[in-house]
Symmetry: C2
Subunit: 238 residues, 2 copies
C-alpha cells in the first residue's frame, strides 16, 4: 500500500507480506476494495454482462473502478480508478487562491469530488460525526447543511458528466453507504446531470443504477479475485 | 458523426457513406482526429513504447484519446476519450446557479475543461479572433486577459490531476496549437499540478511531454489506422 487517505498510518506499508507472515505463510493478494467490488457486481450483481462499466462507491470516501472493453483499467503502476480524486472545482475568482473556499481533501489536494461528496467530508464540513446528520439538517431546511448538500450534488454532477463524456460506459453502478441511504442526493443528481449536460450519444447509452450486493460486496469480489489469481490468471477480464 | 461542437452543421451526419459516394465507392473509415493522432504518436512519435498513455490536444477545442494497458478506450458506443468535456469547475456559491460565472461550453454544458482552456474559448472570452491575442495581452499585464489565462491554467491543472489519479498513465502527450505555442501556459501548469496535488505513486510514474508530430499528426495516424483496418484488424492495439 502506498497510501490510504482515510486510514491513518498506512503509508508505504507492506500489507501482503505482513499479513502472510501473521498467517503462517498463507498466500495473500492485496487489491483495492473497489476493484473487488467491481468484480463482484460484474459476476453476480448489477453489472452482469456489461463490458463497459464504472463502479462508484460513495461511502466514507469516494472511489471507483473502471472497466472498459471488458478489462479493468489498472494503469501503469496499478493505481488507476481513483475517480474520487478527480478535481471537479476550483476557485473562479482569480484574485484569490485556486483553493480558496474549497474544502481540503484527505489526499492533500483540493477540488476532488471526494472532498465535497463523501461521507467523512460531509460530516466534517458540518462539524458532526455522521453524514446522516447533515441530510437530516438539510431536510429541516438548515441553510448550512443545504449549502453543503448542494455542493456535494454539484460535485457528483460534474463527476458523472465527466465519466460519461470521457469513458462512454454502458453502466454506472453506484454503491456505498451514502449512495444506499441517500439515492436522491447521489444517483438522482448524477442522472439529471448526465441527461442535461453530457454528450447525447454517450448519455443515451448509459444507465446509472444502484449497486446490488450491499456491504459485503468487497469480500464477495475478493473470493472471485483470489480464485482467479490462484488459477494462474493474473488479471481479471470479462 | 453524432455531433461536433466546433463544426457547424455536422449533426447525425453520415460522413463515411457521403464521402464514399463522392469517391466512386472507395472504402472510407471515419474516426476521431485525436484517435488517429494517438496512433501516430504511439507508432512513430512521443508515445513510442508506452502502453498506458493519454494523448491530449489543446487547440481550437480540447480533446484526447486514452490508451490503457495497450488498448485504446472506445467505450460502449465508440465516443470515449472526450477529456475536454470533463467538467472541472462549478459555482461554489450555492445561493447562485451552478453555472453562474462559468463560460458556456460549445457542447451546451458548462465547467468543461475545453470551455476554459481551448483556443476558441480563450479568444471568445476576450472578444478577439485568435487566442494568441489573449496571451499577448496577458504578457503586457492586461487584467482581463490575466484572469482568463489563470482560469485556463486552473482548468488544465484539475484535468491533469484527474487524469493521473483516475487513469495512472505513464505518459501524457500534449499537442495542439495552443500547447505548441504556449507550453508555459499548458504543459507547465499540468506538470506543476501533478507534482503538487496528484497521488504520489501515479504522479511519480507519469511524464507530461509535448507531442512530436506537429500539425499532420492526425493524417499520419489515419494512414496507420486505415492500413490496420484494411488488413482485417478492426481495432487498434499496441
Amino acid at each position: 500500500m502506498h497510501e490510504a487517505p482515510n486510514i491513518v498510518g498506512f503509508k508505504e506499508f507492506a500489507l501482503a507480506s505482513r499479513l502472510s507472515d501473521a498467517l503462517d505463510g498463507l498466500t495473500v493478494f492485496v487489491d483495492r476494495d473497489t476493484a473487488m467490488a467491481a468484480i463482484a457486481e460484474s459476476a453476480i450483481g448489477a453489472a452482469r454482462g456489461a463490458r463497459d462499466f464504472i463502479y462508484v462507491t460513495v461511502s466514507t470516501g469516494l472511489g471507483g473502478t473502471i472497466v472498459s472493453g471488458g478489462r479493468m483499467l489498472r494503469g501503469t503502476t496499478n493505481t488507476a480508478g481513483e475517480i474520487g480524486h478527480f478535481p471537479v472545482a476550483f476557485q473562479l475568482d482569480t484574485t484569490r487562491d485556486a483553493a480558496a473556499d474549497l474544502p481540503r481533501c484527505g489526499c492533500g489536494s483540493y477540488g476532488c469530488a471526494e472532498s465535497f461528496a463523501a461521507g467523512r467530508n460531509l460530516a466534517d464540513a458540518y462539524g458532526v460525526a455522521d453524514a446522516a446528520e447533515v441530510f437530516t439538517a438539510w431536510a429541516r431546511g438548515d441553510p448550512r447543511a443545504t449549502a453543503i448538500v448542494i455542493r456535494a450534488e454539484r460535485a457528483l454532477a460534474n463527476l458523472a458528466v465527466g465519466l460519461v463524456n470521457m469513458l462512454n460506459p454502458a453502466l454506472i453502478v453506484v454503491g456505498g453507504s451514502i449512495a444506499d441511504n441517500q439515492p436522491g442526493h447521489v444517483l438522482e443528481p448524477m442522472r439529471r446531470a448526465i441527461a442535461e449536460r453530457a454528450f447525447r450519444a454517450p448519455a443515451s447509452a448509459v444507465r446509472v443504477v444502484p449497486a446490488a450486493l450491499g456491504g459485503d460486496v468487497g469480500m464477495l469480489g475478493a473470493v472471485f479475485a483470489a480464485r482467479e489469481r490462484l488459477s494462474g490468471r493474473g488479471e481479471w477480464f470479462l
